[in-house]
């Protein structure tokens, strides 16, 4: 399963690679990383068939995670990737907006990786 992680914090890549080292090693999961909404869209436009799941932070400079979600849901319908939104604030406003825009799930920071792993494995 290919997962695109979108976050402006670059160390998220090291963290995911360590947290999911076994899954990566066993080729159960494959991760790609984008550091802005704009980069994520570019990735999806170029390699739309690759990403099955998108894990995106909401609070990013430039294109926010919610804007990215809107773009994905409007432009990437075939096949529609699953989108999980992540935010540090995790408040009702962001949750409601994300759900209205068609988010498939919503996680709050700090990420509980055991929970995330369960969710990802369930999808897998």
């Amino acid at each position: 399963m290919k997962i695109l992680v979108v976050d402006d914090e670059k160390d998220v890549q090291v963290l995911f690679e360590q947290r999911f080292r076994k899954e990566i090693r066993n080729k159960e999961m494959e991760f790609a990383f984008a550091y802005s909404g704009e980069d994520a869209l570019k990735y999806l436009n170029d390699l739309s068939h690759e990403a099955v799941l998108i894990l995106s932070d909401i609070n990013m400079p430039g294109m926010s995670g919610l804007e990215l979600l809107r773009h994905i849901k409007e432009k990437h319908k075939e096949p529609p990737p699953l989108v999980m939104m992540i935010t540090a604030y995790g408040d009702a406003d962001n949750y409601n907006t994300a759900m209205k825009l068609g988010a498939d799930d919503f996680l709050t920071k700090p990420l509980e990786f055991s929970l995330l792993k369960e969710k990802l494995k369930a999808i897998h």
Partner: protein, 345 residues
């Protein structure tokens, strides 16, 4: 006629050796002398009266002047008191403005501390997992695998250290920001200072208004090194300029929601013996009628309650009086504004 002159006239009239003609002439002369004496006496009397009147007036004037002197003294005392009160109020206002700007940043600070703390927690958890895995590999005798995991642990620990320092730096900056300036110039990395306030201001605004977003661009001159500045004061200037830039792009976004990309750029540059910190936005710009007033205390274009009107005037004082630098503005209404802090080094 004066009685002494009359006596002389009488004596002369009785003297037979003097002719009648002579008697008349002498009597006329004596009468003329009498008239002149009368006039002189009148003049003397009048002069005396004038002297007395003048003395009275002088006395009154002196009294009046004394009263006025006392009134001026009282006014001076009152003015000095007012001046002292004004100075105290000004100091309070400066502190209030500082604390208000800090308050604006609260959410940004929380976000900026939360993020590194998340990393610290996550990397420490992953380090534990890695160490367990390393023990398993060692027990199996897979030394090479164990070494590879040890490198992963090392990387995790470095990340913990890095993000711990990041959170520590933010807390220290904020404590410094809230303290009264000690006016001491210390070697400072202006790029770190600018970037820190850019992120804090951005996340602070984002937390307050979730609809807000802007592209942040930075271009820092890596050759600047450390420069001697009062870092908390210059930090306040940079924060103020960035906050204003965000406000300008937000206002423009409200007016022109489609096709507009709010962008705030912070850059630093060393040119000869000067450091230039530039904060530019593609927001509403400053109208010409406001341009002359922007550095005046209490001037603000923001709605009541949204700005103290002290930010730019304090910034101006910090840059010019505190650092012998310049604070310049370039703007085009409806298009952009760029503020340049020019500091001598």
């Amino acid at each position: 006629m004066n009685k002494h002159l009359q006596n002389i006239v009488n004596i002369i009239q009785q003297d037979e050796s003097i002719t009648a003609e002579q008697k008349n002439a002498i009597t006329k002369s004596l009468k003329d002398a009498d008239k002149e004496l009368e006039i002189t006496s009148f003049k003397l009397d009048r002069t005396e009266k004038v002297k007395r009147t003048t003395a009275i007036l002088l006395e009154e004037t002196i009294q009046e002047l004394e009263l006025k002197r006392k009134a001026i003294e009282e006014t001076n005392t009152a003015l000095q008191k007012t001046l002292d009160e004004l100075k105290a109020t000004q100091a309070q206002l400066i502190q209030s403005e500082k604390m208000a700007s800090l308050g604006e940043l609260t959410a940004g600070i929380a976000h900026e501390i939360q993020n590194p703390l998340n990393f610290v927690n996550n990397f420490s958890e992953v380090s534990n997992e890695l160490l367990e895995e390393m023990t398993e590999q060692l027990e199996k005798g897979n030394t090479n695998e164990a070494k590879a995991i040890a490198n992963e642990v090392k990387m995790s620990l470095e990340k913990i250290n890095l993000h711990g320092k990041r959170a520590d730096g933010i807390v220290k900056s904020m404590l410094q920001h809230s303290r009264i300036s000690n006016n001491k110039k210390e070697p400072t990395d202006i790029n770190v200072l600018a970037d820190e306030y850019l992120r804090l201001a951005y996340h602070g605004l984002r937390a307050k208004d979730k609809s807000f977003n802007a592209a942040l661009k930075t271009d820092y001159d890596e050759n600047i090194g450390l420069i001697k500045i009062i870092s908390q004061d210059i930090g306040r200037v940079i924060l103020n300029l960035i906050t204003n830039a965000f406000y300008a792009v937000m206002e423009k976004k409200k007016l022109q929601p489609e096709g507009y990309e709010p962008t705030v750029t912070v850059s630093t540059k060393k040119i000869d013996n000067k450091i230039i910190v530039n904060v530019k936005d593609n927001g509403t710009g400053i109208p010409q009628r406001a341009l002359d007033k922007i550095f005046q205390p209490f001037f603000t274009t923001k709605p009541t309650g949204q700005g103290t009107g002290l930010g730019l005037s304090l910034s101006y004082d910090i840059v010019t009086k505190g650092h012998g630098g310049e604070l310049k503005v370039e703007t085009k209404e409806g298009e952009y504004t760029g503020f340049s802090v020019i500091l001598p080094v």
